[in-house]
């Protein structure tokens, strides 16, 4: 479960996120919607500790993680661009978080294969990430974020910038994967139809 209480973020006295509170129950998906520039991505970055909060508390499974560094929060992030590591293959990207957690090699191989199957890209295991299409890169980014079994998964406009066919296919797969893994997820999107399709609940970020 993710619980955000009275969270605020300000840069140079400009308030970007103002006193936001919400809860995402375990295994559910909450969509945060709102127009561009309202602070949706900033909110996600504050929750996973990439930027500092000015005020507020973040609880994950009833543990206060507000003062923990990003790498100790157990939060996965899928960004708008995928951000795959360019010097690693598809498998190595997915394996990255598992290596960090010191999972034995055989278990890592099994887990990577399982995730590649889940996103229907097992045939691309040894492909260079530069050779992936936009849709494939997003699927690999999703698999990579899910690999270490994060307690919460943050999805930052994961379907933006894709052509309609790829968008629709990926949206279906994303819904399936979230359900299959029972992951607690927070989805940020400006597209209400995505929110309706993927989320159990929608939270509209209020204007500041």
């Amino acid at each position: 479960m993710l619980n955000v209480s009275n969270l605020s973020v300000a840069f140079d006295n400009t308030v970007i996120v103002d006193n936001i509170s919400f809860t995402v129950p375990t295994g559910e998906t909450l969509a945060i919607t709102g127009p561009s520039g309202i602070g949706k991505t900033t909110l996600l970055h504050a929750i996973c500790g990439i930027i500092r909060t000015t005020h507020g508390i973040v609880h994950i499974d009833n543990v206060d993680v507000t003062s923990l560094p990003t790498h100790k929060r157990g939060i996965g992030l899928v960004s708008q661009t995928g951000d795959l590591f360019p010097t690693m293959t598809v498998s190595q990207n997915i394996e990255f978080g598992l290596r960090i957690s010191k999972m034995p090699k055989t278990d890592r191989t099994t887990r990577v294969h399982e995730l590649l199957e889940m996103v229907n890209l097992a045939h691309l295991a040894h492909r260079d990430v530069a050779e992936l299409s936009g849709g494939e890169a997003r699927r690999i980014a999703l698999a990579r974020a899910l690999a270490p079994r994060p307690r919460v998964l943050l999805l930052d406009e994961p379907l933006s910038g894709l052509d309609q066919t790829t968008h629709d296919a990926l949206m279906s797969d994303l819904a399936r994967v979230l359900k299959q893994t029972a992951t607690t997820a927070l989805l940020v999107t400006h597209d209400q139809s995505e929110a309706d399709f993927l989320a159990d609940t929608t939270f509209v970020l209020p204007h500041k």
């Binding site: 500790g49 790498h71 992030l77 951000d83 590591f85 960090i100």
Partner: protein, 500 residues
């Protein structure tokens, strides 16, 4: 103190101990106003200062006259062979000054002002190409077309549209070229002969040969004042402290058929001026008594030379060991500086403080117990690392900046600590830049002459020192051996840089 600031301690201490402290120590211990006014009233030394100034101005103007047209040709047009031409013209930047000087000597067979200016042009055209080229290639050619459709002649288009966009890069480059020419040591040592002395060579003569450190320090201060004045009058030129020395690729443009020959002719002329001295060193190393022969090369690799106090093999080994050691020190320090918020001005100081000034500081600071390091063999590669640092930082920094923060964020959300992210994400991406930086550091070390002249002993003679000694000796055998070593340096430096 956070971890980033802790990481900064090592490079800052390194730079302070081996650069700031020696230079400051020289100035504080030996600078006397009386000696300074004596220098100014001494007609001979005034003549040295005046020559340093005007040869640097003429060299800079000549470099601009040859460098700007070829920069235009290579940054505005792509044609068959333009990449190779760019490589040939930028290669001398990492070649030792003594090798370039030896090349010019191989052609002119005489010393004096013209050979000095030619050598400076060979060495510095690459500076214009590296600094102005990227800016010129970014000038949108549609703006020029727009000006032309509004009735502007090419010269007016250049003055009103292009020049305002490239002027600060040209001033930056010209300032850097002036400083390189004004503080040039290896070129003057070989091509100046007995009559042409500059402040840089005079500082060496006063400090090392005559033991007159006070006068040498006064000359160093005079030199610093002139450099400071140049910075003041070309204030925009101070941007060079943050200028990247990365060579950008040109935007492919179609030339008008009637003008197609112009960029080709300009590029060919520049290549002849820049590359001919380098080829001449190789040619002179292969010609004995007007006949092609490998005898000089055999002598270098098999025997000893009476003109040198050590064997040529030992000189080559020493240079390579120093170059590798310097790279092992310089690249990690540069990486730390490039990836943290280290004060850039501190690490740019070796660009604007002359090697001779540093040399005085080193010999007086590291000459007293417990820091009697000036005669230690390890000391020379450490100083080479200090001198290479500003260039090596500039080779790494653009690559560091190009790593998207989002990759590091992704790594952190996957559980990687900042150090693990640096090791597993940043370093693999930086690998090509680190290889280039290693090559650059080795090239600088292989060619360093100024500061090494102050520190070199018979057991630590480097290739540039040996070349200068051999070319300064009378006799065909010594000259021939000098050209062989210079040719060897051309081949090794080009080899190192192309591998990197």
């Amino acid at each position: 103190m956070n971890k980033t600031k802790t990481l900064l301690i090592a490079p800052v201490v390194f730079m302070s101990v081996f650069f700031v402290v020696p230079v400051a120590n020289a100035l504080l211990r030996f600078f006397r106003f009386s000696a300074f006014s004596e220098v100014l009233s001494n007609q001979s030394l005034r003549g040295v200062a005046w020559f340093s100034l005007w040869e640097a101005i003429i060299s800079t103007l000549a470099t601009l006259a040859i460098g700007l047209p070829v920069t235009w040709a290579l940054s505005r047009f792509t044609f068959r062979g333009s990449r190779i031409a760019r490589g040939i013209l930028t290669a001398p930047f990492v070649l030792p000054a003594v090798v370039v000087a030896a090349g010019v000597l191989a052609i002119t067979d005489s010393r004096g002002v013209i050979p000095i200016i030619w050598a400076h042009v060979v060495f510095n055209v690459s500076v214009i190409l590296r600094i102005v080229g990227p800016r010129w290639s970014l000038v949108n050619h549609r703006l020029e077309n727009g000006a032309a459709t509004l009735g502007a002649r090419p010269s007016r288009t250049f003055a009103l549209v292009v020049w305002p966009q490239i002027s600060d890069a040209v001033i930056s480059a010209a300032t850097l070229v002036f400083i390189y020419c004004f503080t040039s040591f290896g070129v003057i040592a070989i091509l100046g002969g007995v009559s042409r002395r500059t402040l840089e060579t005079e500082i060496f003569t006063q400090a090392v040969r005559l033991g007159n450190t006070t006068t040498a320090t006064a000359l160093a201060v005079l030199q610093a004042i002139i450099i400071g004045a140049v910075f003041f009058f070309t204030r925009r030129g101070s941007r060079l402290l943050s200028t990247s020395l990365h060579v950008s690729s040109a935007q492919p443009l179609q030339t008008k058929p009637t003008h197609r020959a112009t960029p080709l002719i300009i590029t060919a002329a520049a290549i002849i001026i820049v590359a001919s001295p380098l080829l001449a060193t190789i040619y002179r190393s292969l010609v004995v008594n007007s006949q092609l022969s490998l005898s000089a090369w055999r002598t270098i690799f098999s025997g000893s030379l009476p003109a040198l106090s050590v064997s040529p093999q030992s000189v080559i080994t020493t240079s390579l060991v120093f170059a590798i050691t310097a790279a092992c020190i310089c690249v990690p320090v540069a990486l730390l500086v490039a990836t943290t918020s280290a004060p850039r001005a501190l690490f740019s100081l070796p660009l604007v403080v002359s090697a001779a000034t540093l040399g005085i500081g080193l010999i007086i600071t590291f000459n007293t117990s417990p820091f009697t390091w000036r005669s230690e063999r390890w000391f020379i590669p450490v100083i080479h690392a200090v001198i290479a640092l500003p260039l090596v930082i500039r080779a790494i920094e653009p690559a560091v900046r190009a790593i998207p923060t989002s990759l590091r964020n992704a790594s952190a959300t996957l559980g990687a600590s900042p150090f693990t992210t640096w090791r597993r994400v940043d370093v693999p991406i930086l690998k090509p830049a680190l290889l280039r930086a290693t090559g650059l550091s080795m090239a600088v070390s292989l060619g360093e002459f100024g500061a090494t002249s102050f520190l070199s002993r018979s057991g630590s003679t480097t290739l540039p020192i040996a070349i200068a000694q051999l070319l300064g000796r009378p006799g065909v055998a010594a000259q021939q051996a000098g050209f062989v070593l210079a040719a060897l340096m051309v081949l090794v430096t080009v080899g190192v840089m192309s591998r990197a």
